[in-house]
């Protein structure tokens, strides 16, 4: 019996190992017929990774683009977080990165000295953050302004019937209820936008807490993810938190209107978010436009950027001209036709101003000195 067992076992082990090693090497081509083989040859895989917030949009774009190109171009996007996206982009294991925080001057300088060209941060979509709350008896539409929100998050306003809130909401019947502050505990682009808004409007916040994907919160309870914050807010009378607009809409949460820098009270919407970014953008679009000067713009919003090298041949993940060309073509498509997918997936469209800046950057993208960005734009009659 024993011998029998050992014999079978070792046989299984050895055959297993042989199969495994064989499988690794050949599996790919072997089981394909000749027809698909030909197709495979011309098929291009575009590999990208990064922020998780725009992942649903990028994935949908990838599906749509696959149809548009008749299976020729497959975009493979891994949502590993902005930090991971930037790191992989710098290490050149992916063709494009996605991030909700633009590259720092330090990384930009590093890349310039290493590749002899710049790294472009191209806006692909917009993120918006709304103040969600649970105040019994009051529906959506409590009006906040920058001071009130900062004061709440610095524990200076601790009750919903505070005169500062009542002054902004004369027609609302606000109860005397202590405010429980909820924030994201996981590092996230949502927190980045929320805290960057606070840093813009309050010098004290800027000096003490600053902004980033995680910060040292002065008060409050941390919920894990959009759902963690939403769960804590919906289950705690008197709670205030922040979520992306899409998440608040999908889960039927009450959210507040915000008075922007021009003094207009803005109801959060995709259109108001797009409007917020329709401003005079710097050439490299590395800008936070929270507290936007746009009159009708919603003030708590920001870009998600796609990261691409100026000299594509310097990116080790891109092997040949075809891949480089397809990457640029996908980029152009995603800021033009691809934007059609935005609203139904809960994203705001890019404004004209951002698309124009993107064209300017795409024009400078090269492969071994050849200006493929310019050529492809010309082909599409965009100058």
């Amino acid at each position: 019996m024993k011998i029998n067992f050992i014999k079978t076992f070792s046989l299984i082990l050895v055959t297993g190992m042989i199969l495994l090693t064989a499988g690794c090497g050949e599996g790919r081509e072997k089981d394909d017929s000749d027809d698909t083989k030909k197709e495979r040859k011309s098929r291009v895989d575009l590999l990208g990774a990064g922020a998780s917030f725009p992942a649903p949009l990028i994935t949908a774009m990838a599906d749509e683009y696959r149809d548009v190109t008749r299976n020729r171009v497959v975009v493979n996007y891994q949502s590993i977080g902005s930090g991971g996206g930037i790191r992989q982009f710098v290490e050149q294991t992916i063709m494009f990165g996605m991030t909700e925080a633009f590259l720092s001057d330090e990384i930009m300088a590093d890349i310039e000295s290493q590749t002899g060209g710049r790294a472009f941060n191209m806006p692909i979509t917009l993120a918006d953050v709304v103040a969600t709350y649970n105040v019994p008896g009051v529906d959506k539409g409590i009006v906040f302004d920058a001071d009130v929100l900062v004061d709440i998050y610095m524990e200076r306003i601790t009750n919903w019937n505070d005169p500062k809130i009542e002054k902004l909401n004369p027609d609302k019947d606000l109860p005397s209820l202590p405010i429980t502050v909820v924030h994201r505990s996981d590092g996230s682009g949502t927190t980045n936008i929320w805290t960057s808004y606070f840093s813009r409007v309050s010098d004290e916040w800027k000096a003490k807490i600053g902004y980033g994907t995680s910060v040292n919160w002065p008060t409050g309870v941390g919920g894990n993810g959009n759902e963690g914050v939403a769960g804590a807010v919906m289950n705690t009378p008197g709670a205030i938190g922040y979520n992306s607009l899409t998440y608040a809409l999908l889960n039927d949460m009450s959210f507040g209107y915000v008075k922007n820098s021009s003094g207009n009270i803005i109801e959060p919407s995709y259109a108001a978010t797009t409007e917020a970014a329709n401003i005079d953008l710097p050439e490299d679009t590395r800008v936070l436009f929270t507290n936007t000067p746009a009159e009708k713009g919603y003030p708590i919003a920001g870009f998600a950027w796609m990261l691409v090298y100026e000299n594509l041949e310097q990116n080790n993940a891109i092997n040949n001209r075809t891949e480089a060309k397809e990457l640029v073509e996908f980029l152009i498509w995603s800021i033009t036709d691809g934007q059609e997918l935005s609203e139904e997936l809960g994203f705001a469209r890019l404004p004209e101003a951002a698309v124009e800046r993107n064209y300017e950057m795409i024009k400078q993208v090269k492969w071994r000195g050849e200006e493929i960005g310019k050529e492809l734009l010309k082909k599409k009659n965009i100058s």
Binding site: M1, I3, N4, I6, K7, F9, S10, L13, V14, S52, I80, G81, S82, G83, G84, I86, A101, T180, S185, D186, G187, S188, G189, T195, A207, K208, I209, G210, Y211, G212, T213, S214, V215, N216, W217, G220, V221, G222, G223, N224, G228, G231, A232, N235, T236, A239
Partner: protein, 329 residues
């Protein structure tokens, strides 16, 4: 009959020559490599954690990092692990204290008192608790347990304290339901199965003679369990408790979802806190700054070392206490 027939067949049939020469050796090599790879794996993990966390360790020093109580990735870029070490320690110790006696009681009921079929049912449910993914426990905690605790337990306590001993309110903290107490209770619930399973095994291995001797001395059932069964099984019980403790230290998702994630002192009883695994899972994905990421890795290394120490202590205690000496009973 049939069995014997096959056996003689094999003995009669000459084995292939390659098998006779190499069979055992291949098997030995494979098993040996697999066994050694675990050691290799543990060391390489520790090495990766160290090399990734070196930036933070160099910046703050080992002691400075462990002692530091500021975690500020926003402005100052200062990172200290003390709040997380403290949070981990408190939640795990208290969770173990809460879970220990119920877990042993469950094991005693299963092994000694309950009829076999009821015992089986209870045992299966205990295993079920161990099998529930912690993220599911966390979601249940967010939407059901925490609000319920707030309404029925925390709020009455809070109002009572506010009316009678207002000076104690800062110690009690915000009663919203997402905080250290909630996380600790959930943690206790999650580690019960481990203590129960090992205790039950240990009890079932107590020799029959041991019990019979106690019976013969005129002991009641309770006395038999107290004087003969539990002392004999104490090695296994402690091993189970230590395994649970290890689980509690490393438990990530459910804690991160319920503890409220406050990265700064002071912690309060009902208010939010944080643990080492919770801060790692919270901030790792989107940690953009190098020092921030490195500090998270250094916390991972600290967690690794602490788990190792707990395991070593557990092994030592178990060996000291087990009746048979040297082996887990």
């Amino acid at each position: 009959m049939h069995q014997a027939q096959t056996n003689t067949d094999i003995i009669k049939k000459p084995l292939p020559i390659i098998y006779r020469w190499l069979g055992d050796k291949i098997f030995l090599t494979v098993v040996f490599i697999l066994g050694l790879s675990i050691i290799f794996l543990a060391f390489s993990m520790a090495w990766v954690l160290y090399s990734e966390g070196r930036l933070a360790i160099n910046e703050f020093g080992v002691i400075g990092f462990l002692k530091g109580s500021v975690w500020d990735p926003g402005v100052r870029m200062v990172f200290g692990a003390l709040p997380f070490i403290f949070g981990t320690f408190i939640t795990s110790v208290v969770a173990l204290a809460i879970a220990f006696l119920p877990a042993i009681a469950i094991a005693v009921v299963i092994a000694e008192y309950a009829p076999k079929w009821i015992g089986n049912i209870i045992e299966n449910f205990v295993h079920l608790i161990a099998a529930i993914p912690s993220v599911v426990v966390g979601i249940w905690g967010i939407f059901v347990f925490a609000p319920w605790m707030r309404e029925t337990v925390y709020m009455p306590i809070f109002t009572f304290t506010a009316n009678n001993y207002p000076s104690l309110l800062p110690v009690l903290g915000n009663p919203m339901g997402y905080g250290m107490t909630t996380a600790t209770i959930i943690l206790a619930l999650m580690i019960i199965p481990f203590t129960t399973a090992l205790t039950r095994d240990a009890i079932s291995q107590v020799p029959k003679e041991q019990r019979e001797a106690a019976w013969a001395l005129g002991a009641t059932k309770w006395e038999v369990i107290r004087m003969a069964v539990l002392p004999y099984a104490r090695g296994g019980i402690l091993a189970g408790a230590m395994l649970s403790f290890g689980r509690a230290i490393g438990e990530t998702m459910a804690v991160a979802m319920l503890i409220g994630n406050k990265n700064t002192f002071p912690f309060s009883i009902l208010g939010p806190a944080a643990t080492m695994p919770s801060v790692i899972i919270n901030e790792f994905r989107e940690a953009v700054g190098n020092l921030h990421l490195s500090s998270l890795m250094a916390i991972g290394l600290a967690l690794f070392v602490i788990s190792l120490i707990v395991n070593l202590i557990a092994a030592y205690i178990t060996r000291k206490l087990s009746i048979t000496g040297g082996q887990v009973v």
